[in-house]
């Protein structure tokens, strides 16, 4: 474990060096994710200029849920973005072999290799929006609330990461799974708004099948509605743990089934 952190530090330091080299690229990346989020927030704001509440949720409550959804998403984006490359090109080009020849767990190596600063665009928007909504809604943040918030973010991040590992692992068999991953990742869009606006089947799917509901809506209800956090943390934590175990199992199976595509 200590070796892991030492290695990770080395990788991150390398990334900072790159960042300094390609400052404009970092700015483009972060700015693009920021603007992407801003347009969606503007959309919410225009809707609320015309209606007082959306299915019983006020403007700031929706901002809260939306802002919350960006935290696990942004954190996962920051840490594990390389999984996209696995799914899209690395396996197909035959470059995956290198991870198997190093004295380190291949999955950890894949994750450590990229530290995606672009994600700050999402993450910072999320924090600003969450703070703004919390002030407007007069939400009190004591030690318990902060603990719930942190746990919920960890659970949410784990859900995102597990989904990515699971579908990136498919590439170990079929060489290219990026677009399949894309579909499942995009279904997290459903989680940015209250789960209650969706029809029953959609609600069921994003709660129990692809549990993105736990990345924003369920934990948010603790803060904005005073609901018990047990469902969000308990069932959400369980869902995240199961998903994580499944994805690791599939990944390991994939590793043993892997045949290089290299020429």
């Amino acid at each position: 474990m200590r070796r892991f952190f030492r290695l990770y530090k080395t990788f991150v330091v390398q990334y900072f060096k790159q960042l300094m080299e390609y400052r404009i690229d970092f700015l483009t990346g972060a700015l693009s994710f920021l603007i992407n989020q801003l347009t969606n927030i503007l959309f919410i704001s225009i809707i609320f200029d015309n209606i007082p509440a959306l299915s019983g949720f006020s403007r700031y409550e929706i901002y809260f849920i939306y802002g919350f959804s960006l935290l696990p998403k942004g954190l996962d984006h920051l840490l594990t973005d390389n999984l996209w490359k696995i799914a899209y090109f690395i396996v197909r080009k035959g470059d995956f072999d290198k991870y198997l020849t190093r004295p380190i767990n291949p999955l950890l190596h894949v994750i450590m290799e990229l530290f995606q600063f672009d994600a700050l665009g999402e993450f910072v928007t999320g924090i600003v929006l969450l703070t703004y909504a919390s002030i407007k809604l007069d939400i009190y943040f004591g030690p318990v609330q902060i603990l719930v918030l942190l746990l919920a973010i960890i659970i949410g991040t784990l859900i995102f990461t597990s989904i990515k590992i699971l579908f990136a692992a498919l590439a170990l068999w079929i060489k290219r799974s990026g677009s399949i991953l894309q579909i499942f990742y995009m279904s997290s869009d459903f989680a940015r708004y209250p789960v209650t606006i969706y029809s029953k089947p959609v609600k069921f799917i994003i709660t129990y099948i692809i549990p993105f509901g736990f990345t924003a809506y369920y934990p948010s209800t603790y803060f904005i509605r005073g609901n018990s956090p047990l469902f969000a943390l308990g069932i959400g934590g369980l869902a995240a743990a199961i998903l994580f175990i499944v994805s690791i199992t599939v990944w390991n199976r994939g590793l043993s089934a892997y045949e290089s595509a290299g020429s």
Binding site: L31, F33, T39, I51, Q182, S199, V202
Partner: protein, 278 residues
């Protein structure tokens, strides 16, 4: 050389790119199907949000749009975006970065036309496999709500014409974006940026009519509105007479403008290609 021969030669040269485009599209059909499903997902998220908005607003209409209008708008504008979106930005950027663009430069062809004809192959598949089915779906939905067929062939033909203009404009606009690869390495970020700018200003997220009047006016003059808003409004019958002529005239104007901008940027960029080419 006679004119006829010249035309044959043109078709022979660029037809090869179109064939390659069709073959690539077939080879990567999984990719394409998945992106399409992703778009449909997005449409459904938006559908539920708008449904909640209409239910919460208490009245049957929201800013002069009925729920039926909204559903038609949503699916049409997204399928239009899907159709007019081009991969050329990314393709050109990658070729500039790895230097393989020289393979196009050493051939006696126009670089932009080679990309365009390549994409025509891909687009003809999109047209037949998803575009028309979605249009038919929208018409069936309208029939279910209204109880009678409200399909207007004249409007449809104008819509098709407008969509072709949209596509060509999108192509040249993306080409200009693609040439940015000479200055930036982060093409992925640039693509996301371009995507969100286009989605927002073209009205794919919120119909431009929902903005304050002055903002609507400014936005509809910008090139982005010509990318999907104009054809969709024509299809929905919201543009008629003078408005229609003006909107389509604007499409032509932006197409010509971006055609020339892309030529100028290309000429200037070509001088820099020596630095990057591998």
């Amino acid at each position: 050389m006679s004119k006829r021969l010249q035309k044959n030669k043109f078709l022979k040269t660029y037809g090869a790119f179109t064939r390659a485009g069709v073959m690539d599209a077939v080879a990567y059909k999984m990719n394409f199907i998945c992106f399409f499903i992703g778009e449909i997902f997005y449409c459904f998220v938006m559908y539920f949000i708008w449904k909640a908005v209409f239910e919460s607003s208490g009245s049957g209409t929201f800013m002069s749009f009925s729920m039926t209008d909204m559903v038609v708008y949503l699916f049409l504008s997204n399928i239009t975006m899907f159709f007019t979106d081009t991969d050329s930005t990314y393709a050109i950027g990658e070729e500039i970065k790895d230097g393989s663009i020289v393979m196009r430069l050493i051939k006696p062809i126009q670089v932009d036309l080679s990309y365009l004809f390549y994409e025509l192959g891909n687009k003809s598949l999109v047209m037949s496999t998803v575009f028309f089915p979605v249009i038919i779906g929208v018409e069936i939905y309208k029939y279910n709500v209204a109880g009678h067929i409200a399909f207007d062939i004249g409007k449809f033909l104008l819509f098709m014409l407008s969509i072709i203009l949209s596509y060509l404009l999108a192509f040249y606009l993306n080409l200009v974006f693609g040439y940015m690869a000479f200055f930036l390495m982060n093409l992925w970020g640039l693509n996301i940026l371009k995507g969100s700018i286009i989605k927002f200003f073209s009205g794919a997220i919120i119909p431009l009519a929902f903005f304050p009047e002055i903002v609507t006016k400014i936005f509809s003059l910008m090139p982005f509105a010509s990318l999907s808003y104009t054809p969709v409004m024509i299809y929905m019958g919201k543009y008629t007479g003078k408005d229609l002529l003006f909107a389509m005239g604007l499409q032509v104007f932006w197409l010509v403008a971006f055609f020339f901008i892309s030529k100028v940027v290309w000429k200037w960029a070509q001088k820099r290609i020596l630095v990057q080419g591998g």
